[in-house]
């Protein structure tokens, strides 16, 4: 049917327009992605690690209208933050407890990315001219403080942040780093963090986050990591990637009460999601593109499992392959995994994958792990185990020592390198000290294998920016090269404890002050798993695990007690000191102006006529007023002339003149 003038034509045009618009918006919506993943990992010391990983991605609008942009999944507050302060990358972590590098491992992706120092740690890289970086940082801290209900705004003052050069990605000059070791982390910080998720904690994996079970954990760290995704074609920035992770180390309750005491102590406690979190997964977050649960068995655990398998089931030797790991002898899984990822090398770590798709409200997902045999294994360690401690007593001075001890990993290195070349181990140390810990950098000492050594033999590069009182903290960055066969090394540096103004002490001044963790990184070592499977590249968590990132560990936070003045004394101190100085001034002036002869004369006069004393004093005053030398009027005791001079018309005239001037002044000033 062909009508020459179709009345619906403009309408259809309009419709087309609307459709086109919605199509473009739909395209944008497609670009915004959200994935949720959970990694469970049994730890050697009868604990379980749960690592939640949420990733949101949003394209970055290049045009100016970006502020008015509407997001579907990506949190608007974060995108506005990025737009406003031109953040290139940022990481904020709230941590409670300390990651146990010895037991929980220090050579995997989680320990180098998600093991954080206690309290709040924030670093950010800005894409602004260098002189504006500080201003951006200050604004950012205030915004984040409001967003997360935490006192991140304390990082605003220049005494609490610094600009290290090598510890993080090399973003010279535009990186700022600050920590608040004292910050207490609680649900009030978790709730705004959950608010950034599209499903909050109402559906999906985040519904597992039962507050009591999370906060009674041994270690928990909630993180927010912002990066710019780069366009693979031209390398330009194309979008924002927001990674939110929550890492919890929990102690599962032992469910098997009926087992014999002996085996119960040896065997690892069995656990399930419902037993450690008290909840089950009732379904995925419908907005998530990917919703997976993984169970990770570490390399040494897999080794032990294989040994066990060899010992118990000898005939199953030829039946190798991935299928084997689903039914291993060490533990039983309550749910059969959908897929198993194993690393490329033989006898390497295994990842069981459970996609959350098919579960509904009636049938809930509850992954359980039941140990059958007692297995002892250990997590992989960082090349050197770093710890830090204080030396000295008293409140005047002390020393900070960073001790590095070799682990089984470096011993393996020595064996690998044996003859051909001297194996070197590079260690980067970043130590930030607040200004009231006045470090003497010239006292830096190095003990290698308990023998003092010259610094120049081991220190490759050293960068020091000394602290400035009430302005900036001290930063020391060291690049050290140790021989691999080294057993232990101790770096020590002396300091004086500063004395603060009473207003600068925190309310609990006698508790002491915290020195933030030192960061020890090993740039030659990369933690990362290598999985053969290609398909996992879609999963952000797996790609994160496979990322080759340098091994990083944080040392302990040190507590330095500082001497306190008496906080209740300011008035006493002010009055006493001022009295003493008044005493000095008064008595010295008195000594200087005293004239013995005159005093005697005065005394004589006083005896002679006490009645005229007052009048004479007046006369003295008037003489002073007229600027006439006192000696002339003083010797003559006859008061008639001086008193007449006191009431002389000249003086009255002068007083009247002054009064007149005052009246005129008053009149004109109004």
């Amino acid at each position: 049917m062909a009508l020459p003038r179709n009345p619906t034509f403009p309408l259809s045009l309009l419709l087309l327009l609307v459709f086109l618009l919605s199509a473009t918006s739909a395209q944008q919506q497609q670009e915004e992605e959200f994935t949720e993943e959970l990694l469970m990992k049994p730890l050697p010391d009868r604990k379980v690690l749960a690592h939640f990983h949420f990733q949101s991605e949003a394209p970055l609008a290049a045009d100016e209208s970006s502020f008015a942009r509407h997001h579907h999944l990506f949190p608007k507050s974060i995108s506005q933050l990025v737009q406003k302060y031109h953040i290139k990358a940022m990481e904020l972590s709230f941590t409670q407890g300390r990651w146990n590098y010895e037991r929980w491992g220090g050579f995997d992706s989680i320990s180098s990315h998600n093991a954080k120092p206690p309290g709040v740690e924030l670093w950010a890289v800005f894409d602004v001219p260098l002189h504006q970086v500080d201003a951006s940082w200050k604004n950012l801290t205030h915004s984040l403080s409001g967003l997360f209900c935490a006192s991140i705004n304390f990082l605003e003052s220049s005494t609490s942040y610094s600009d290290p050069e090598w510890a993080f990605q090399s973003a010279l000059g535009s990186l700022r780093y600050g920590t608040l070791p004292r910050e207490a982390v609680c649900t009030e910080n978790l709730t705004p963090w959950l608010k950034l998720l599209p499903c909050r904690d109402k559906a999906g994996l985040s519904s597992l986050m039962d507050r009591p079970s999370i906060y009674k954990s041994f270690y928990h760290s909630q993180q927010l990591h912002l990066t710019m995704s780069t366009d693979p074609s031209d390398g330009s920035r194309s979008g924002i990637i927001l990674e939110q992770t929550l890492t919890v180390v929990l102690q599962p309750n032992d469910q098997k009460a009926g087992m014999s005491h002996l085996s119960k102590t040896k065997i690892q406690p069995s656990w399930s999601l419902s037993s450690i979190f008290g909840r089950k997964i009732s379904g995925r977050c419908v907005l998530a593109k990917l919703s997976n649960v993984y169970l990770h068995a570490e390399r040494s655990l897999v080794n032990q499992l294989e040994n066990l398998q060899k010992n118990t089931v000898k005939f199953a030797a030829n039946d190798t392959g991935l299928e084997d790991f689903r039914r291993n002898a060490g533990f039983e899984l309550s749910v059969t995994p959908e897929r198993v990822h194993a690393e490329l090398e033989k006898s390497s770590s295994i990842l069981y994958e459970y996609p959350i798709k098919e579960y509904t409200d009636t049938e809930q997902f509850d992954l359980g792990l039941t140990w059958v045999h007692p297995i002892v294994w250990s997590s992989p360690h960082a090349p050197l185990y770093a710890s830090r401690f204080l030396m000295g007593s008293g409140n005047e001075r002390g020393a900070i020592a960073i001790s590095l001890k070799s682990t089984e990993m470096t011993q393996g290195l020595v064996a690998a390198y044996n003859v051909e070349e001297r194996c070197k181990l590079q260690v980067n140390v970043l130590q930030i000290v607040p200004w009231y810990v006045k470090v003497y950098y010239h006292t830096l000492q190095l003990l290698v294998d308990e023998r003092p050594q010259a610094l120049t033999d081991f220190v490759e590069i050293m960068r020091v920016s000394p602290s400035e009182d009430k302005v900036s903290p001290g930063v020391m960055e060291l690049v050290l090269q140790f021989p691999c066969e080294m057993k232990s090394a101790v770096l020590s540096i002396e300091f004086d404890k500063g004395f603060l103004h009473i207003d600068e002490y925190p309310p609990d001044a006698n508790q002491g002050f915290d020195i933030p963790s030192a960061i020890i990184s090993f740039p030659d070592f990369h933690a990362g798993l290598q999985f053969s499977d290609k398909s996992q590249s879609k999963s952000p968590l797996l790609s994160k695990l496979q990322e080759r990132s340098p091994v990083l560990s944080y040392t302990e936070v040190l507590l330095v007690p500082l001497t306190t003045p008496d906080f209740s004394m300011p008035y006493n101190v002010i009055t006493i000191t001022c009295t003493v100085f008044a005493l000095y001034f008064g008595s010295l002036l008195n000594v200087l102006r005293r004239r013995v002869g005159e005093e005697e004369r005065l005394l004589k006069n006083k005896d002679a006529n006490k009645t005229v004393f007052f009048r004479r004093e007046l006369a003295k005053l008037s003489a002073k007023l007229r600027g006439r030398p006192l000696e002339l009027t003083l010797p003559c005791p006859s008061s008639s002339s001086s008193s007449s001079s006191f009431v002389s018309p000249k003086l009255i005239l002068r007083v009247l003149l002054v009064a007149g001037i005052a009246v005129v002044w008053q009149y004109y000033s109004q």
């Binding site: 000394p466 004395f499 009473i502 003045p565 008496d566 101190v573 000191t577 010295l588 200087l592």
Partner: protein, 468 residues
Amino acid sequence: MMKKKVQWFWTWVLGSVVLRLILLFFPKNLNLSSRPEVSTPLTSLRRLAEGYWLKQSSLSPYAGSMYHGSPLLLTLLGPLTVRRIEGQPDHLLCSLVFVIADVVSAMLICAAGEKLKVAYISSLQSLGLHNLTENSEFLPSGDFAALVYLWNPFTIVACVGLSTSAIENLMVVLSLYGACSRLAPLAAFGWVMATHLSLYPAILIIPVILLLGYGPDAPPRKLFCQRKNLEGGNSIPSDSCSEEEAKNQLKVANVFSWRPVVLFLFWALLWSSYVLVLCGIYVQQYGGLQELFKRTYGFILTIQDLSPNIGVLWYFFAEVFDFFRNFFLIVFHGNILLMIAPLALRLNHRPCFLAFVYIVISSMLKSYPSVGDSALYLGLLGLFAYELKDMQFSFFLFSGYIGVSLLSPVMHNLWIWRGTGNANFYFATAIAYVCLQIILVVESVSAMLNHDRKLTKLYTAKLQNIKS
């Protein structure tokens, strides 16, 4: 002229050097260099070593808030701090420098005392008060003061404790000696260096100018005027040669000679521009002279470091409310300046004593006092032993100094190391110490004025005898 040395003078000097050397070999046990009484932020050698280290690693020595001293001191002592001799205690070379500085200052005090004594005796003779000079109790005050300086426990502690105040004291003494012996370039050098090192000796310019203008300490100028008038009125026949001498003396005493003063000012200008050029070259790439002044004099004047010392200002500024801080800074530094004019007016005939009083006042009110400053004024006090022999409270002061110097370390230990006492205990000893210094300065000024009165009285009595 009687040229009588204190018995065994050189033995005593050698003994003090040996004692210092013995103490130097137990620095670890004594740990004096970290005592708050000895090492203030300005005088601590450890901070100087840190500054030198920063300089060596191509940072500004003033980066960070460690070093606040002069760049010249850094070039002099810096290389010595890093040089170690095998088997010897650290900083041995530095301590030897301090020992030498101490001995040289003692010798200069001795020489200045000698000059003072000679001048004083001749001026007394010109007044005809011979009987005073022939008194047996007229001590060789120069030797006495030198020994007091060398054997003062404060000096020994400051020297062994590696405090740079030994060098500051040397510069002050150098300037006084130069003024006493009318060597304008030397006096100017000492004054410029002392001011450059610790700022407060700047006020010594007044006594130094008076010394150069009027000559060393003498009885009040009024007496000479009276004598002149008397001579003009009726000429008394007397022995001629001493009379001629006395006439010359009168002229010298009453006429302010401008030539050495102008020379001094010229040399001071020359030296200070020289020092500034040297410093400017040293800190050229680290912000220049402005930064230097901010880090040294600014640090002294604004009292940024609140670590405890024997003064009271650290605790005062740790406690005072922030909005009053500037006010009190002005008040306390004004307190030093306020007293300059009255003292200069009243004591202008005794410029050396005036210098002593200024030194006491500035070491009492300065922002980071140490025992090194006390050592200097106690040494100089020995120069006026004869004039101040009638001083009141001298026994009280002596026992007070001993008491405070024993109690103060105890209170510091209780507060800092044991944590059983609090800051008020230590502050109380600091207050007591300031009070003692106040009594010392007030009583010594009073005793000196009384001594002048006594001279006047004696002289008028003599005049009346002559007339009648």
